[in-house]
């Protein structure tokens, strides 16, 4: 799936990954790839601007930590991020139901 198709959903997906616990950028990209079964094959760097946007809007917080001997910036979902994720889920559910409904109807 291309970045264009993910437009508008990347922030929600990143928050979805962070819901299970704090993680650094590399781990988030790995999780996105694994959780999507390899479907989301974005440029790896794309996740960092998304994390910075989310941090600017206070949906995630970050701190510098040493992980596996490396100094990493670890991101964590904030309370505002959890609320935003709930909204994102509801919005996606509505959208995907509508698209599925339309695409499942055979032309007559």
């Amino acid at each position: 799936m291309s970045g264009q198709q993910l437009k508008g959903h990347l922030d929600t997906l990143v928050m979805g990954i962070l819901e299970s616990g704090p993680a650094h950028g590399y781990a988030i990209i790995d999780s996105l790839r694994v959780a999507s079964g390899g479907v989301f094959d974005l440029p790896e760097g794309t996740v960092y601007p998304a994390l910075h946007r989310l941090e600017a809007s206070r949906r995630v917080t970050s701190s510098n930590q040493v992980v596996d001997g490396r100094q990493r910036r670890v991101y964590r979902l904030s309370a505002a991020g959890r609320r935003s994720l709930l909204q994102g889920r509801a919005s996606w559910s509505q959208f995907s139901t509508a698209v599925t409904h339309i695409l499942n109807v055979s032309p007559t």
Binding site: Q4, H9, D11, G45, P49, H52, L54, R72
Partner: protein, 308 residues
């Protein structure tokens, strides 16, 4: 230089963010690329190839810089109204300090004093309008994780106009103070000097800050989400959309109100003497609306038969 370091140098040169943010971003990306390359090396890849692959998987420096610049620009955009507000408040503070130096006097102000004061007030009116315009757009996107380049461009333009107008007003008021000090020797020169100095220096600093905010309006990010801000923060934009849809009515209303205000506050003894100030205010409001209206999104212009 290694492939990774070369990539980082190129990325760094394309980033329009503060020095601290640039260092933090580059360090974060470096750690990512090194981890990626080391994992590939652990699986048997040659170091050079591993680094090349890591860099290729990360994305082009142009794309990355554009996205980082857009994210940073959205943050800087939210600081712009604060710059305008603090500059404006300090200029007002300087004016108040200078105002205590003006003893109550029955002497009629000279024409240069009246003109400089009148023009200063006009400049402050422009500053308030532009500042409010920028704040309105910034508030409208306050809770979104990103702001479109057009929004950031408008906020940047408004803030620059606001602080430039504050500087013009400060210089004109300082001129007025100097003229007043010459006209009335019993004024407190120290307070006048402190007031004029505070206003002018603050306005210069505010304009310099506004010009150097990394709002990056030319960098857009396709990955932005569409979360809307609360309706309360949209009040300004709703009002402005009303103004831009009815420019004639809006301009007339503001002109009448401003003219009445100018005539009431003019240092004139009767209606006839106040009339020139009222006409001057009306002309200034209409001219400003015509010139700055499109830049501030207060009215639309027609170009080649299309609305712009």
């Amino acid at each position: 230089m290694t492939v990774i370091e070369s990539y980082l140098a190129d990325l760094s040169s394309r980033l329009h963010v503060s020095r601290g943010s640039r260092a933090a971003l580059v360090a974060e990306v470096r750690e990512h690329l090194l981890e990626s390359a080391e994992r590939a090396c652990a699986n048997g890849a040659a170091r050079q190839q591993a680094e090349t692959n890591a860099v290729a998987a990360f994305g082009s420096t142009t794309l990355m810089a554009r996205q980082f610049n857009a994210a940073s620009g959205a943050r800087a955009m939210r600081r712009a109204p604060v710059v305008a507000l603090v500059t404006g408040a300090t200029v007002v503070g300087g004016f108040l300090v200078a105002a205590v130096a003006r003893p109550g006097t029955s002497q009629q102000a000279t024409a240069p004093m009246q003109v400089s004061f009148f023009l200063a007030i006009l400049a402050f009116q422009v500053a308030v309008t532009a500042g409010a315009r920028g704040a309105s757009r910034a508030f409208a996107t306050w809770r979104t994780s990103a702001a479109a380049g057009l929004d950031r461009a408008l906020v940047r333009r408004s803030t620059i106009i606001c602080t430039a107008a504050l500087l013009s007003g400060a210089v004109l008021l300082s001129t007025n103070f100097v003229l007043a000090a010459h006209h009335s020797p019993n004024m407190r020169g120290v307070a006048l000097g402190i007031g004029a100095f505070t206003m002018t220096v603050t306005a210069i600093a505010g304009l310099a800050l506004a010009l150097h905010l990394n709002i990056n309006p030319d960098d857009n990010d396709d990955g932005i989400d569409s979360t809307h801000t609360s309706s309360l923060l949209q009040v300004g934009e709703t009002t402005i959309s009303l103004v831009s849809r009815h420019p004639l009515a809006s301009c007339t209303t503001v002109t009448v109100a401003a003219t009445a205000w100018a005539m009431t506050h003019a240092e004139a003894h009767n209606f006839t003497a106040a009339l020139p100030w009222g006409i001057g205010e009306a002309v200034a409001v209409i001219t400003t609306f015509m010139i700055l209206g499109p830049s501030l999104g207060l009215r639309t212009t027609r170009q080649n038969g299309r609305l712009a």
